[in-house]
């Protein structure tokens, strides 16, 4: 088994590091084997597979910490890297705030997160499913001009060990598909997109995604311009997911909290959001995509209530062992996973799950007199983190709601608003939730979102 091999590599690396007379050592070994078929203009144009892996070695010597990441699982190469890590630690300066690597805690593996069919999917299968998506989209309307997207299948596994006795591992399969449909009538173009994420390839139904994307695309031809201003909005799960990920990134990371960048710091035990909003971070819940039992330091993932009926508190904060040590706390199991280095050593929520409501999308539309239905948001970035002011644009189908009905497509609009204000009044939350990247989210209706500009299409 891959995880057995990784566990052995990590444990051996720690043993070797301790022989170099360091105070503490941690090693993680990982393997990612994935493939992705990408299509555009209704044909496959990029079709790739990669087997990547490596080890991350951390040694501590008199509070001097060094980390080496090597892109290999060869034992001799890893040993060389350990020696290099020790050299670097000796040359470094002490980090006074470092307390200790985590002590071992009881953990249990997660069964059922790895699906062989998904992990070892053949390119021919992906190509056939892509064909299904393309043909379905084109069959929906003669206005469908081009179909784009991607379909990924694969697996990841990692193991972590440290000199205090931690030895833990995780593995899972992962698959996702996105379909973007571009339509055209006269000189006007329409856009629509749909995405699906799962650990099991059987859950990916290309024709459903293609139908959804094609419908939005065709309906968004000939959009009209709406003046900027404040509007009621109905957000699809895709849009909710993106906004919520930013709230999580800037708000619930201990790094942001300790630097004074997190809104939680200034709103402890206060109701910041609508009382209907409850969000937990729980990696063991099968509703979340990245179902893993331990974090990148081998600490069991703890379920945290990030937002509880609109309230945030100290319990909302996600710690790794370093940030926890600074406050004499224990890690909550939110160290970054060793499979990617996008967030570096920043701790944070990776499995946000929003509590479902009792509404449906149709009800949300029906109860809106004059508002906007946003299917996707694009290029969202924080403008001011302590107030969670985000800016971004609508994309792939934006529609005007008038008197309880979707009346017409509108030109994409730019929003710039505080999410503390936007999520303060949420009249409706759907009972259906969807897995979208690192979140599991429902549709939401917001009482107001501030738009500052419009695009050209």
């Amino acid at each position: 088994m891959v995880t057995e091999r990784l566990k052995e590599i990590a444990e051996r690396a720690v043993q070797f590091a301790m022989k170099q007379k360091v105070d503490q050592a941690q090693a993680s070994a990982f393997l990612v084997d994935d493939a992705l078929t990408r299509f555009a203009n209704s044909q496959i144009h990029q079709n790739v597979a990669q087997k990547s892996g490596g080890a991350i070695l951390k040694v501590i010597l008199n509070k001097r910490i060094s980390t080496i990441r090597v892109g290999t699982l060869e034992e001799e190469e890893i040993k060389k890297a350990v020696v290099e890590a020790v050299k670097i630690a000796k040359a470094s300066s002490p980090s006074k705030e470092f307390k200790s690597l985590p002590e071992p805690e009881k953990w249990t593996p997660i069964k059922g997160a790895f699906d062989e069919e998904t992990a070892y999917c053949e390119p021919k299968y992906r190509a056939e499913k892509v064909r299904e998506a393309i043909e379905t989209a084109h069959s929906k309307s003669p206005d469908v001009k081009a179909v784009a997207g991607y379909f990924s299948t694969g697996s990841m596994a990692y193991a972590v060990a440290n000199s205090l006795g931690v030895s833990a591992w995780a593995d899972m399969s992962i698959t996702y598909m996105k379909t973007t449909v571009i339509s055209k009538s006269g000189t006007s173009e329409g856009f629509g997109a749909a995405e699906k994420y799962s650990r099991r390839i059987k859950d990916i139904e290309p024709s459903l995604l293609a139908e959804d994307a094609a419908e939005k695309s065709v309906k968004s031809i000939n959009p009209v311009k709406l003046n900027p201003g404040e509007y009621e909005v109905v957000l699809s799960p895709l849009a909710v997911a993106t906004l919520l990920m930013f709230v999580g990134y800037v708000g619930f990371s201990a790094n942001a909290y300790q630097d004074g960048q997190s809104f939680v710091k200034y709103n402890l035990n206060q109701q910041v959001f609508d009382s209907k909003l409850t969000v937990k971070d729980d990696a063991r819940d099968f509703k979340t995509l990245y179902t893993v039992p331990v974090d990148g330091e081998g600490v069991p993932k703890k379920a945290l209530e990030l937002i509880s009926n609109g309230f945030v508190s100290e319990k909302s904060i996600c710690y790794n062992s370093f940030t926890a040590g600074k406050e004499n706390k224990k890690s909550t199991g939110h160290a970054a996973l060793p499979i990617g280095d996008y967030y570096g050593e920043r701790s944070g929520p990776f499995n946000m799950i929003v509590k479902a409501g009792d509404a449906t999308l149709d009800e949300a539309i029906a109860e809106t007199k004059h508002g906007i239905f946003i299917t996707t948001v694009h290029y969202v970035n924080p403008v001011e983190p302590t107030k969670v002011i985000l800016t971004g644009l609508t994309r792939d189908g934006t529609f005007l709601i008038e008197n309880g009905n979707i009346s017409k497509p509108i030109v994409n609009m730019r929003f710039t608003d505080s999410m503390l204000s936007a999520f303060k009044d949420i009249p409706l939350i759907s009972k259906q939730v969807e897995m979208v990247r690192r979140t599991t989210v429902p549709m939401m209706k917001l009482k107001k979102l501030r738009f500052v500009g419009i695009s050209a299409y």
């Binding site: 493939a35 079709n47 980390t67 390119p123 710039t416």
Partner: protein, 482 residues
């Protein structure tokens, strides 16, 4: 780097029916140092090596990469790439065709005086620790100071079955400092010389030394504190003077990305988006004012996007994207220029890892100098703002509507720089915005390095450069935060 493994791959690919095949074998070193509040937070070295094989079989593409560089794995990986290409062929609408490019045999290395990987770690950390402490000591309001160093080296070998064999070494380094201060729930940040970890250049350690972090730490801290007393950015239409890295990012987002030919041809439609600069506009479309000349130039010394050859063996070159305001060129690859029947690739294909497929990436996208001195632009402005150091950015998927925010700005009234302003933001529409550009400086032009440009699925992060000075834009909508 030995070509033996590469030749095995090419022979194997041809045996299995590939009409075209190339292989990149590469090793990448990254040294990342972050010091927080004067204490090391990240002292990290990463070493990545592996190879990636690209094949065309029956007119369709396949790619596979692996970290295990041995004969058996190379054969397996070639087989995987070929089987992927055959699957691609199931949906083929047109043949993959590459524009001609003379196969080269060459060696190239970016130049440096002091090898960043031979400078002692203690020396680098000493600078970062001292600068971080000076910055943090400026006030108790400063919650965190960060100082950064990043050194990069890639040694790579590119071989194709057309006969190319190119060895390259790319070395770059740089760094910077930043601090976050909080007062009464208001957060401000200030960075030097640019945000998001600093400025970078294909140079040696001498570039990091030239940043003189120790000399700037105190000034940055003091300027940060002044932001709490600064006026809010006024909300109105006014003249906007962009300086330094903010002008670089404006070029990156509103000219760099929309002139990528893969976007214009729709192949990034599912993720980053397409481009308003569609092929029928080439050579005709009025992108900006006559003052605006923008080039993609992979040959400019010390640019972060400088190299000898791209990742499909095309020699580095300089091409005009915008000439006297007219859209005249794309950043391209051999396949995309063949599709448009253009003469040759601009040499823009790069991958961020040996395991990743090369895609069209910016090289150095430079706004050529104008005929003003930077100070003359200020003196000539009656009512406006001068802003610098990016804090936030966002642009739509065709690169038309954008919004940027910066760390700091100053009111300009009757030709003089007056009060400091905080949280400046502005918004615009690309062709109108560049159409309103009426002054570009020539005395403070420099290369800025952006090491974190994201693109593609699976996502890749590339290092690119932007040369510019200071420029003025008339009647821009500023002050968007309530």
């Amino acid at each position: 780097m030995s070509s033996d493994f590469g030749k095995i791959a090419l022979e194997e690919a041809e045996k299995k029916g590939a009409s075209y095949a190339d292989i990149r074998i590469s090793e990448i070193l990254n040294e990342n140092l972050t010091v927080k509040n004067g204490e090391p937070e990240t002292v990290s070295l990463s070493q990545e090596k592996g190879f990636g094989v690209r094949v065309i079989v029956n007119g369709a593409w396949g790619f596979a990469g692996s970290i295990d560089l041995n004969k058996e794995e190379i054969k397996k990986t070639v087989e995987r790439a070929v089987s992927i290409a055959k699957a691609s062929g199931l949906l083929k609408k047109k043949e993959a065709v590459l524009a001609r490019d003379r196969p080269r045999k060459d060696k190239y290395a970016t130049s440096f005086k002091k090898d960043p990987f031979k400078i002692a770690l203690e020396q680098k950390l000493d600078t970062l620790v001292q600068a971080g402490r000076i910055l943090k000591e400026q006030s108790q309001l400063i919650k965190a100071s960060y100082t950064h160093y990043h050194g990069f080296r890639e040694n790579k070998l590119f071989i194709s079955n057309e006969g190319a064999e190119i060895n390259q070494q790319i070395t770059w380094c740089g760094g910077g400092l930043s601090a976050i201060a909080v007062k009464g729930g208001e957060m401000q940040t200030r960075s030097y010389p640019s945000p998001f970890r600093g400025d970078f250049s294909t140079s040696g350690y001498e570039f990091f030394e030239s940043l003189a972090l120790l000399d700037h730490a105190k000034e940055v801290g003091q300027e940060l504190l002044k932001l709490f007393e600064a006026e809010k950015c006024p909300s109105s239409e006014m003249d906007l003077i962009l300086y330094g890295d903010q002008l670089a990012l404006q070029i990156h987002e509103s000219c760099g990305h929309p002139t990528e030919l893969d976007r214009a041809l729709g192949t990034e439609a599912d993720y980053a988006g397409t481009s308003f600069l569609t092929p029928e506009k080439l050579g005709k479309f009025r992108y900006g004012s006559e003052k605006v000349n923008i080039v993609a130039d992979a040959t400019v010394p010390k640019g972060l996007g400088t190299f000898g050859y791209d990742d499909e063996g095309t020699q580095a070159k300089k091409v005009y994207l915008i000439k006297e305001g007219t859209f005249v060129g794309y950043q391209s690859s051999r396949e995309t220029v063949a599709e448009l029947k253009l003469k040759e690739s601009s040499g823009g294909m790069r991958a961020d890892s040996p395991l990743a497929l090369p895609i069209i990436r910016m090289t150095n996208i430079n706004l050529l100098p104008g005929d003003w001195r930077a100070e003359e632009i200020v003196e000539d402005t009656r009512d406006g703002i001068l802003i610098t150091t990016n804090r936030s950015w966002s642009i739509d998927d065709r690169r038309i509507n954008f919004q940027f925010g910066t760390e700091i700005g100053w009111r300009i009234k009757n030709g003089s720089r007056e009060n400091m302003i905080k949280n400046p933001t502005y918004m615009g529409v690309t062709p109108q915005f560049w159409g309103s550009c009426d002054a570009i400086s020539n005395d403070n032009w420099k290369m800025w390095g952006t090491p974190n440009c994201g693109k593609g699925v699976p996502g890749q992060v590339m290092y690119v450069g932007h040369g510019c000075g200071t420029a003025r834009f008339r009647k821009v909508h500023a002050g968007l935060i309530k």
